[in-house]
Symmetry: C2
Subunit: 113 residues, 2 copies
Amino acid sequence: MISTPTATPTPDVYSTIGDPTRRALLLRLAEEGEKNVSELVEPFSISQPAISKHLRILRDAGLVSCHKRGRLRLYSIEADGLRQVYDWVSHFERYWDEKLDALGDHLDRKAKD
Amino acid sequence: MISTPTATPTPDVYSTIGDPTRRALLLRLAEEGEKNVSELVEPFSISQPAISKHLRILRDAGLVSCHKRGRLRLYSIEADGLRQVYDWVSHFERYWDEKLDALGDHLDRKAKD
DNA sequence: TTGACATATAACCGATTGGATATGTAATCT
DNA sequence: AGATTACATATCCAATCGGTTATATGTCAA
């Protein structure tokens, strides 16, 4: 009984979503709800073990969870961990969605929250 | 006419921000404005060439720009490319800013779109 | 012009990554 | 029980990564 049960080694969310396959998996789980591994593999041209490895990484990052039903493993999105990405990238928001003229003051104030 | 500004080979923004050093560089440029390389190196315990390499990657990803002044290269944030990350991660927004109790139905319905 | 400074690039290296194939394990079906 | 299905894990491999030191290039200052 060595195995660390859930004890997340916090495997960086940013690098986890750095991979396009993993992003696609996350998006699909978010849009279509829980899916088993075979269903998740299907749209890709890569092997099942490769997808299982991605799912493992996603699980370790806390971005998905899974439970068994019969011989299926049903994976679901666990999006809380993505919030930190949202928060980080929000720091740059003012650079793209506003003309920063007299607005600068307002933004500086918000930045202090 | 669209004209790719610097002929970006689009070296994936997601993997670019996967590195913590690069995220720190971006954040600092955003918060403190343009900086030369020496200034950017200073807070880190890694070598100047290592930072220059990161800056190269950031430039290739279109996330920073630089211009010369004397013997200095002044780097500035170019945050537009981060918007796609913001947009992507926004897909998961509903998972963290809503209590999904009786809301589940509503969400399931939306998922079918 | 010579030397110091600012920065980029080159060459190299060990660690990690993302894939493949092969095998293990548990649940279901006949 | 035996075969099949669904998935995870093990092992291996080439490519990429992030760092290093060494070197090249261009600019300023004396």
